[in-house]
């Protein structure tokens, strides 16, 4: 059973940022010669890029789990992405993903230790599920953060529908594998430089997956998911570092053993399987005590479980989080 708790700091649906403010976009992407030259000289300078045409999702019910912290702008959320399938630069996904990553047809396979397994077209997969808005904090392992108004469905509902067996202790997720779409998947195999073993996979313990905060997101800012943010469907686990929130999911697999997770496999001493946001356990190379909220110049303190301790701390009772980082 799901226990929904409302914290004093949580926002009422009526307090959620109105759409007019959503659309008040900062116009920093300009096609100027300066910006073009700048991208050569300074890595962060952006070249203008036409926006993807994305369908609005209609009226979305608000959620008691949404934060009242002002959300980042649409530009911020869609031009600064880690989506290594398109390259390791923050602007590679916005340059390369729109147009390459077709959102339909899209098949999601449910497999493994469950009664209702099968392959579903995107619309079939979403049938009967109510997409709601969830304004969540997102904390990247690289010590920056954003506030993002996702649209999505609780993963728990998808899991209930799949009727996992008693042997389903974990859920494993797979990003789509298609080197035609994702340039970095095609450029594999360079000896010691070979980095990621595609496809990207991630995993959650069953109780983490069933937590009411865990979301399968299909959009943001009231519209379909932009390609660079992991269209058409992605995971959002707001109390874990961003890399757990796997993008462009094509497979949800129930299994008994702890799943292989991409970053965890790549550098186990740097990225744990749990990867809970924890200001007290530093990354070996940098501190996790503070973070830079995108849009701000100075850093702020990072909160335990990214501020979701009331909802999730009980999942890790008795665990040594410096060992299970």
């Amino acid at each position: 059973m799901l226990i929904k708790k409302r914290r004093a700091s949580d926002v009422l649906p009526s307090e959620i940022t109105p759409e007019s403010i959503y659309r008040d976009r900062r116009r920093f992407l300009r096609t100027s010669a300066l910006a073009a030259a700048g991208s050569l000289l300074a890595p962060g300078w952006s070249l203008a890029k036409p926006m993807e045409a994305l369908e609005p999702l209609g009226e979305l019910p608000a959620s008691e789990f949404s934060t009242d912290t002002p959300a980042n702008t649409y530009e911020e959320i869609t031009t600064y992405n880690n989506f290594y399938e398109f390259g390791s630069g923050k602007e590679d996904p916005m340059r390369l993903a729109p147009g390459r990553l077709e959102h339909r047809p899209w098949t999601v396979t449910v497999s493994g230790e469950a009664e209702n397994t099968g392959e579903y077209g995107f619309d079939d997969f979403m049938r009967g599920l109510t997409v709601e808005e969830r304004i969540y904090r997102l904390r990247c392992v690289e010590a920056w953060s954003m506030v993002i108004p996702w649209a999505g469905v609780p993963l728990a509902e998808v899991i209930r529908r799949a009727r996992p067996t008693s042997r389903a202790k974990y859920v494993k997720f797979y990003t789509r594998y298609d080197p035609q779409v994702f340039p970095a998947q095609a450029a594999r195999g360079m000896g010691f430089l070979a980095s990621i073993d595609w496809p990207y996979t991630e995993g959650l313990r069953m109780d983490e997956a069933m937590n009411p905060l865990t979301l399968l997101a299909t959009g943001l800012y009231g519209k379909e998911m932009p390609s660079q943010n992991g269209a058409p469907i992605r995971l959002v686990v707001p109390w874990k570092y961003g890399f757990k929130s796997i993008k462009s999911v094509v497979r949800i697999h129930f299994q008994e053993t702890e799943p292989e997770a991409t970053w965890n496999q790549l550098a186990p001493h740097e990225y744990g399987f749990y990867a809970n946001v924890n200001p007290n356990v530093d990354h070996p190379r940098w501190s996790q005590a503070r973070e830079r909220r995108i849009g701000e110049f100075f850093k702020q303190d990072t909160l335990m479980f990214n501020g979701y301790q009331e909802e999730v701390a009980h999942l890790y009772a008795g665990m040594d989080l410096s060992k299970h980082y």
């Binding site: 910006a35 962060g44 300078w45 600064y80 920056w144 970095a184 990621i196 790549l266 190379r285 501190s287």
Partner: protein, 216 residues
């Protein structure tokens, strides 16, 4: 001086420009080398440094510090390969630009990551090997920048050369600092710099050996 033997036989390049020409070259170098800094300032004012401007400031200043550091090390090999002895006369400015960008890099870290709070900053530097390594590189460059004036060159005499040998460890530390930050597959740029550094240092070692064999 042992200079002058031109491997490439680039006669025009080897000819020392007139004082006016040299001055023009210095002014041109100043304008070009200062361009990244100017663009950062303009970008910051106009809000065009991307979504994470602090990261852009940090990355750009760091990269240019390394590039100029490598450029100073390229001066001697270029001089020997082309016979253009005069390039040495641009080296001080190149080195000072390396120091300038490295200092800006540190300033961005001190101001925006730590709000100039000294105690947490020292703790961060001590705790993070990659910051310690970068910081050491910058500290090694400090005496070089301070003694780059004509007066100090004269005053220190032979010891000036010995002191300025520190540019090698500074470059190595800067490069290690860069490598240490890499996540997954962003190896191209640091590898290019490492190859250049290896060439510049290797060339010197090889030449010194040759000289030792010939002279010794």
């Amino acid at each position: 001086m042992r200079g002058g033997q031109s491997v490439m036989g680039a006669a025009t390049l080897a000819r020392t420009p007139s004082p006016a020409g040299l001055r023009a070259l210095r002014v041109g170098l100043f304008a070009v080398a200062g361009l990244p800094a100017m663009m950062l300032v303009v970008g910051l004012v106009q809000g065009e440094l991307g979504v994470n401007p602090v990261e852009t400031l940090l990355d750009t200043t760091g990269i240019w510090a390394l590039r100029f550091l490598l450029a100073t090390l390229a001066v001697t090999p270029i001089r020997w390969l082309t016979g253009a002895v005069w390039v040495v006369r641009l080296r001080r400015q190149v080195g000072l630009w390396a120091f300038f960008y490295a200092s800006c890099h540190f300033a961005v870290f001190a101001v925006f990551d730590h709000g100039l709070a000294l105690a947490p900053m020292i703790e961060d530097i001590a705790k993070r090997p990659f910051i310690l390594v970068g910081m050491s590189g910058l500290l090694l460059m400090l005496p070089l920048a301070l003694t780059s004036t004509r007066g100090w060159i004269r005053r220190l005499g032979k010891r000036w050369r010995q002191l300025h040998w520190l540019v090698y460890p500074a470059a190595v530390l800067g490069l290690v600092h860069f490598f240490w930050l890499i996540r997954a597959n962003r190896w191209t740029e640091p590898l290019i710099y490492a190859a250049l550094l290896a060439i510049f240092l290797g060339w010197r070692a090889w030449r010194r050996r040759g000289v030792a064999l010939r002279d010794g």
